[in-house]
């Protein structure tokens, strides 16, 4: 009888708290979005399941000794996001950007989403219940970079207590890029602008592709060393692939290694979706700010493209500016699709890949700026 009471007191039903139940529901919602709605399933499925596991009472999977506690070590140390960034680097082809380097300005402009959001987060302090210090504001703002590993890396350094909400917002909005961007793109451009056809890109030599990552890490080392971990691992991955001499490790970095780390990273992010950390007014703020960040980034990219179009000798379709937020390759595909609505024979995909990968560099640089200025 005594044992039966003990058994009852060891059940989840006896121990579960309201907030835990809500967080498990949030986990199920993320799984629903991942599986049925196709929202970045590679990340949101593990994150959602991690959220469920983290909030199971008694089990203590996020406490010291639990598997999610150990996996979180890979985020805390920065190793997991950096390894993913290495793999992404190995998967990235800088050809279209090197063929048309001025698209880097589009990748730069779109980062205004980050800094405007940083300002917005600080301004939100006037709302009662919202308290963001500088570090937290910066960690939230990086959602505007539209780059998962960068957002997780910065959040783990500046505001680990917000990591769960930030990662969820970042990946959710990346999944929502095809919904968020088109109205903004259409509002800021004329039909004539959307019809602009661009000149075919020149072929980029293998040597240029090999030299570029080396140049990138050198510039970073000299000018913005706080971005060196992110840019460095990214360039390393890119060089492995571009060099063509280490195919076996390059392929492993792009496949098995990034897959393994993705599983671990997802579960570990889920471990930051505990009730105490997530069920706060601030989370609503983060979700709102994230949407603003994406929108401002998109708008800045498009407007920059319009400005450049005035001064450029060769025509630039302003739609490709939206791809500057990164969210590779989704944003480039969106630019292509919106362009074809106005001119079905307009193939913007490759042209949009330039600002798209430039946006990855841009947000890593922005991350470096934030990490160096905010201590």
């Amino acid at each position: 009888m005594e044992n039966l009471t003990l058994l009852w007191e060891s059940t989840g039903l006896y121990n579960i708290t309201g907030p835990q139940a809500i967080m498990m529901a949030v986990g199920f919602l993320l799984l629903f979005l991942a599986i049925k709605k196709g929202f970045e399933p590679l990340l949101l499925l593990p994150i959602g399941f991690g959220a469920i596991l983290s909030n199971i009472p008694v089990a203590g999977m996020i406490d010291e000794g639990g598997i999610l506690y150990y996996l979180y070590g890979g985020i805390k140390s920065g190793v997991f996001p950096l390894l993913i960034f290495m793999g992404v680097g190995a998967m990235t082809d800088f050809g279209p950007m090197l063929a048309n380097p001025k698209t880097l300005f589009l990748g730069a402009a779109a980062q205004f989403g980050i800094f405007a959001t940083l300002f917005g987060a600080l301004a939100l302090n006037v709302v009662p219940g919202m308290n963001f210090d500088l570090k937290q504001a910066a960690a939230i703002a990086i959602i505007g970079g539209a780059d998962g590993p960068t957002a997780i890396y910065v959040a783990s350094k500046l505001a680990p207590e917000l990591l769960g909400a930030i990662a969820v917002a970042a990946y959710s909005y990346m999944a929502l890029v095809p919904l968020i961007q088109p109205p903004i793109m259409r509002a800021l451009t004329t039909e004539a602008e959307r019809k602009i056809e661009m000149q075919q890109l020149r072929v980029v030599s293998k040597t240029e592709k090999i030299v570029f990552p080396l140049m990138l890490i050198t510039l970073t080392a000299l000018l913005l060393p706080s971005a060196a971990p992110l840019v460095g691992m990214f360039s390393f991955g890119n060089l492995m692939n571009a060099s063509g001499v280490v195919d076996r490790i390059s392929k492993t970095a792009q496949n098995e290694l990034i897959n393994i780390v993705t599983i671990f990273l997802g579960l570990a992010v889920g471990s930051k979706l505990s009730a105490e950390a997530f069920l706060k007014m601030e989370t609503l703020g983060i979700l709102g700010l994230g949407a603003i960040a994406f929108s401002i980034g998109t708008a800045s990219g498009v407007l920059m493209a319009k400005v450049m179009n005035r001064f450029s000798s060769t025509p630039i379709n302003p739609l490709i500016g939206a791809a500057g937020v990164s969210a590779v390759p989704m944003a480039a595909r969106v630019a292509n699709k919106v362009g074809q609505e106005s001119n079905p024979y307009n193939f913007l995909l490759m042209h949009a890949m330039g600002p798209n990968v430039a946006g990855v560099i841009g947000s890593a640089v922005a991350a470096g700026v934030l990490l160096s200025l905010i201590k």
């Binding site: 998967m91 990235t92 082809d93 050809g95 279209p96 090197l98 380097p101 001025k102 880097l104 300005f105 990748g107 730069a108 980062q111 205004f112 800094f115 940083l118 300002f119 600080l122 302090n125 006037v126 709302v127 009662p128 308290n131 500088l134 504001a137 910066a138 075919q200 072929v203 980029v204 030599s205 293998k206 040597t207 240029e208 592709k209 030299v211 570029f212 140049m215 990138l216 510039l219 000018l223 913005l224 692939n241 571009a242 060099s243 063509g244 195919d247 390059s250 390759p329 024979y345 193939f347 995909l349 490759m350 890949m353 430039a358 841009g362 640089v365 922005a366 700026v369 934030l370 200025l373």
Partner: protein
């Protein structure tokens, strides 16, 4: 309004000032970094194309997703060209 200023208004003003400063310096840094990168790329590309032209040939470059997109775009463009010609004949 005094009420919502729960951080203390001095504090709030300070934060807003930092925010503006960060925005300016941050965007400045991002733009100047990427601008320098553009210059560097242009110098690099012209150097390579002038002095190591033989090495060009992106065929062997270990690119992955980009190339496939490129192929698709190229085929699509060709189809487009064909249709344009076809129309003119009509």
């Amino acid at each position: 309004m005094q009420l919502t200023c729960h951080y203390g208004c001095n504090k709030m003003n300070e934060l807003i000032t930092s925010g503006i400063e960060l925005m300016l310096i941050g965007m400045g840094m991002v733009f100047s970094f990427l601008a320098m990168l553009i210059v560097a790329i242009k110098v690099m590309s012209s150097t390579i194309l002038r002095f190591f032209p033989d090495m060009s040939g992106a065929q062997n470059a270990g690119s992955h997703h980009g190339d496939d997109l490129g192929t698709i775009a190229a085929i699509s463009a060709a189809v487009h060209q064909y249709r344009l010609k076809h129309r003119k004949k009509d």
